[in-house]
Amino acid sequence: MRVGIARSLAYYDYYPLWETFFQCLGCQVVTSPATTPEIAKQGIAVAGDDVCYPVKVMHGHVAELANKVDMIFVPRLFSTAVGTCECPKFIGLADLLRHSIPNLPPLLSPYVNMYASKRGLLKAVFVAGRAITFNPGRIYGAFLAGRQALLASKRRLQSGQLPGLSRPQRGDKGTLAVIGHPYNLYDSYSNLRVVERLLQQGYRVLTPQMLPRKTLEAANAQLRKPLFWSAGRVVFGAGAHFATRPDVMGIIHLASFGCGLESLITDMVQRVAVKHGKPYLLLTMDEHTGEAGVETRLEAFLDLITWREATKCG
């Protein structure tokens, strides 16, 4: 059986788990290619107009897979950590896709709810596995192997290696933190190559995924009330942590224009950055492909940092 996985949204958090899981169950995993203008265009054409740009791009990826696979894996992510929720668009994603894109193969969308307990994940694992086999031992074995793969990829990230990057980071110009949702940080087309440009110019790039969970939790502890969204905890926690790090010369926040969560988090991170005197740049992305706006802001921000560092050294 061929299982399709869209290279979009939660892919950037969980792909190693999903891939290994389905491969262990004897499936062939087909992943959509990195976002191209064609995929984005297709997504914009079929998606409802009030969803955010990344969800539109997701539609394009799923449409791309439509006639290449027997089913497409789009889990219904309600809660991926105890006491937190995912964005409503993640929760309803499978329904959005099913109603927007004609002639889709069946969508495999197990309900993932870890709000009350981590064990909620196992329920979803068995629902997903039963679409392929009725042998619970095999399903559990595939899940364990998948979890190993996910942990290994997390370790690679925490050691500072960016996904999809073969060369080690040069970092001779210094270190910058780039924060935001993983699907904005690691999708080079959607972020107008911001991370790529920084690497090319010789900056070392740190992302939230490179931080251990404990660090994020500690940074979140300064809030009077824990954030509701799991993604928000990661982005805010990373931003608040990087703001205090002496080796980080500045924070670049990549946000989607239509993102309700980011509309709050960007302001919260900015306040912490100002408090610690850390340069902060907010880049709001949408459907535009013109790179001039991003180029200008990024160049000015790097000028600011260079200028600042130069005066610091006397």
Binding site: P33, P37, R193, F257, R271, T296, R297, E299, A300, D303
Partner: protein, 326 residues
């Protein structure tokens, strides 16, 4: 006479400045871009040449503004810089103590925060062009007022009509509504100025500490109504420099001087003859890979001189002439 040139190619206006060795503005031009940056820069260069004495040597040429990449190829600039850095340089030249720069142009508005002569923070308007020059232009045209008289009109107002400044579309419908209710035009214009300033302070300057000295530059600084509205909203003196309308170009010229004279480097500048050459930019979609980059090509007298816009470098690295990027 040894001069450095600065060119700021903006969405609405294109400005040229020539400065002498002591950094003083020798000659300046403010032209409307009108959708054709190449032609307007060529026109500007020949006009500038006519204004300047015969015996001049250009020791450096800098470009800035949203059209900087294109024009950099046209003139072979020594320095291609973003507008933030250029505006900050110019403001520092005018007032070395400046701590806040407010710049409002055609489609952009920015705030630059400086401390001890160094940029420490900046922001630009995000997606929306509400509260920029284009919007004022449009409203002036709709009211049948010349844009240069809009500010003076606002000063005649007895009071300000309340206008929603959040969005250009809503502001316009609000203005039409107030006008139909019978509010006098000067009051509406003053209300518009206040709404624009409010919008700027709430959006662009959000979360920034505005400290004096404050320098207000960009085309919109010509508008005395906006100036007054800023002074009232900030309760601070707002300084408008003599060459407020060409500060980007002035900054580019200063940066070019730094890149050439200060480093003892010769200028790459193509010369004034380019004003009369047959120049053309064309684009095509590269089908080398799935990225389908829009590749730009620049031709002088039908000869390709530069390519850019490709992600992989297949075209740009084949260019016979690169462009300085410092």
């Amino acid at each position: 006479m040894r001069l450095a040139l600065g060119i700021d190619v903006g969405s609405v206006s294109t400005n040229l400045v020539a400065i002498n060795e002591s950094g003083q503005v020798q000659s300046k031009l403010y032209l409307r871009t009108q959708g054709n940056p190449i032609a307007v820069v060529q026109k500007g260069l020949s006009q500038l040449k006519a204004q300047l004495p015969e015996d001049i040597t250009v020791v450096g040429c800098g470009v800035t503004g949203s059209g900087r990449q294109l024009v950099a190829h046209l003139v072979q600039a020594d320095c291609v810089k973003n507008e933030i850095t250029a505006h900050a340089m110019a403001a520092l030249a005018v007032n070395p103590k400046v701590r806040t720069v407010i710049e409002i142009g055609g489609q952009d508005s920015k705030i630059i925060i400086l401390r001890d002569g160094v940029v420490v923070d900046f922001a630009m308007n995000t997606i929306c062009a509400a509260g920029t020059g284009s919007f004022l232009d449009r409203q002036a045209a709709r009211l049948g007022v010349d844009i240069s008289e809009l500010g003076a009109l606002a000063l005649e107002a007895k009071q300000a009509t309340r206008i929603a400044g959040r969005c250009a579309v809503f502001a316009e419908s609000d203005m039409v509504h107030k006008q139909q209710m019978g509010h006098p035009i000067p009051d509406i214009v003053r209300g518009l100025c206040e709404a624009l300033v409010r919008n700027y302070l709430n959006n662009v300057a959000k979360g920034k500490t505005i400290e004096p000295p404050i320098v207000f530059q960009g085309g919109v600084a010509a508008n005395v109504g906006i100036r007054k509205a800023f002074q009232e909203a900030l309760q601070q003196e707002v300084e408008v420099p003599e060459h407020y309308d060409v500060m980007g170009a002035l900054g580019a010229a200063l940066l070019a001087e730094r890149a050439t004279v200060a480093l003892n480097q010769p200028s790459r500048w193509r010369g004034f003859s380019i004003a009369h050459a047959d120049c053309q930019a064309v684009s095509h979609d590269c089908d080398g890979c799935a990225n389908h980059c829009e590749v730009m090509e620049f031709r002088i007298a039908q000869q390709s001189v530069a390519f850019w816009g490709d992600r992989c470098g297949k075209w740009s690295q084949s260019s016979s002439v690169g462009v300085a990027n410092n």
